[in-house]
Amino acid sequence: MKLLINTRIIDPQNNIDEVGGILIDENGKIKAVGKKVTKENAPKDCKIIDCKGNISIPGIVDMRVFVGEPGFEYKENFRTLSEAALSGGVTSVVTMPNTMPVIDNGSILDFTKRRAKDKSQIKIYPLATLTKNLEGNEMSEFGLLGIIGAIGFTDGIKCVQNNRVMDKIFNYSKNLNSLIIQFPQDNELSADGAINEGDISTRLGLKGIPDIAEKIIIERDLSLLELYKNRYHISTISSKTSLPVIETYKKKGLEFTTGVSINNLSLNENDIGDFRTFLKLSPPLRTENDRLALIDAIKNGLIDVIVSDHKPEDEESKRLPFQQAATGASGIETLLSLTLELYHNQSCELKTLIKTLTCNPAKILNINAGNLSIGADADIAVVNLDKPWVIEKEKIKSKSKNTAIEKRKMQGKVEKTFINGNLVFEA
């Protein structure tokens, strides 16, 4: 048994924000939590861990992570992903099916799950594809994949374009209660696009991705959702233009959820500067107005989840002319610290932010994680809210070092991470 003391416990799901202790039983489950849990009333044989006034939050649930296994192990494997995640306080990870081969059948899914279990300490929940081989033409075996343990379905970096196919997906998967996750971007409108369409694309001479490319897919999907009422989640939105659509449908009472990448909350298109390919992202970084609108949307509940959108890319894929360079940034280990920036600069309340990282994604996924309820797995991140540090490329634990925020000064760092009550990371 273990006892965490001298810590401010923040658990949005149970509405806890108090100084106290957390008692973990021998099975790695939470036995008691709160201000009444002290050294004095703890069982005699338990190990006392002094958190030195740092906060304790539920382990982070990251809903959008790319891992290179299978097929791109040189970019990231389960072991390196696990190490990177733990150093960022992330204990549950949802992985994308954009692997090689793609996760669109039971045997690959089963292999991936076993491999993940063998190699990583974090809890990995693979998604399977919405369509076979990510081609957008034929739907995947939602039923069979569900039995084997796909937590949901998405085409990851791709978006199902064909309206008929999308209609059939909604219709067929409804009875199976499958979670459908869409990356909203119209292919034709965004074809060859490298960055946001606007001042910067005009100045740099790059083909832009208009914000309407995102909105148009959200509008289509929500129209279909109104018809079928599935479990539906928008993986990442990037623009202000999409928000009124989401608001309208939420006001109508339609149930669905929305995510945003931490990159779109912390950076804007100006940061791309003189063709910095590490900031070539998908969805693209947009304007400062978009960024501020997305933060407001978190505050008023239009956006439910913040994700790292962790996409490890080797240097060779980034050392190319901007148009040819790969998209995405490594970010799982900086997700929490960057999110805390929004608290420190008074953009958003701490509780709201932690909610978007913990219990909100867990509820969408229907897993018992992201909370400190009694009986739940003791997945806990102990965080020093104020610790200053600087992001250095060399210290990144992920196999790929393509961070979008090199040299950024951060405030707040993970000190300890527990999974099932075991101390698996210590700074």
Binding site: G198, L206, Q323
Partner: protein
Amino acid sequence: MQALWFASIELLLMAIQKEAVKFRHKHLLGIQSLSIPEVNFILDESMQFVDFNKREQKKLNILTGKTQINLFFESSTRTLSSFELAGKRLGADVMNMNVSNSAIKKGETLIDTAMTLNAMHPDVLIIRHQDSGAANLLAQKVNCSVINAGDGWREHPTQALLDALTIRIKKGRIDGLRISICGDIMHSRVARSNIYLLNMLGAEVRVIAPPTLMPKNIESLGVKAFTDMNKGLEGSDIVMMLRLQTERMQGSYVPSTREYYEFYGLDYKKITKAHPNALIMHPGPMNRGVEIDTTLADDINRSIIKEQVEMGVAVRMACLKIICGNKK
């Protein structure tokens, strides 16, 4: 005696200062990074080569012993030959890399190609590439100087400089002129470089294009945008026409060439909207009957397209001289 001594010191200091402000870059990657004195310095230097190029004996030894490599990833006739001639007239050893047959086709990256060439110790690399920013990327990786001969839709600085020189010679000034750039602005590096340069030199720059070929927020570059050609041309001193790429003619950006010509082709009727002494420019190659009336294009009273080509060699000689002379 003492006064004379001070005077000579002053002269020396002035000379050092003048040298310092003349041109402070190792590379010529775009107009955006240049200052007004630097642009004027290039244009002034170019002037002497304009006269020189008319002489019978056209060989100098300014760049003797220097190696210039023309690395063209896109096909080009006039820019490539212009750079080649410029280098040769200055006495440099010029090599044209035929990229279509080279290692790029075998999967080598731009950076690896650059590193290979770099190992041969060239003094200047002239690059044209289909991707915006390619010249900047190359410049970060090689030891020699890099001149951008066009990258994607972004910049084509020597074209803008030669256009400015042509205008300066033909009109005597650039400051205060109204210059209209017309055509496919969105995909044009020539338009972008000219917007930066002509704006910098005090012209009123206008752009005219169908809405589908107008980049978003083009006004942020300091121009007035028009979709009505007749309005855009009003009072223009210079009309700069741009080429419409074949693949953009039929239905994708404009319905057809004949519809484009009707609304955006420069003919004798539309040119009456411009200033009576307005001159016509085109970076070439022209699509006669698509963006410009064929007779108008050859009208010696109106068209200064041939002069542009002539100025091209002079401007590129000046750029090569300045860039190669700048090396430490």
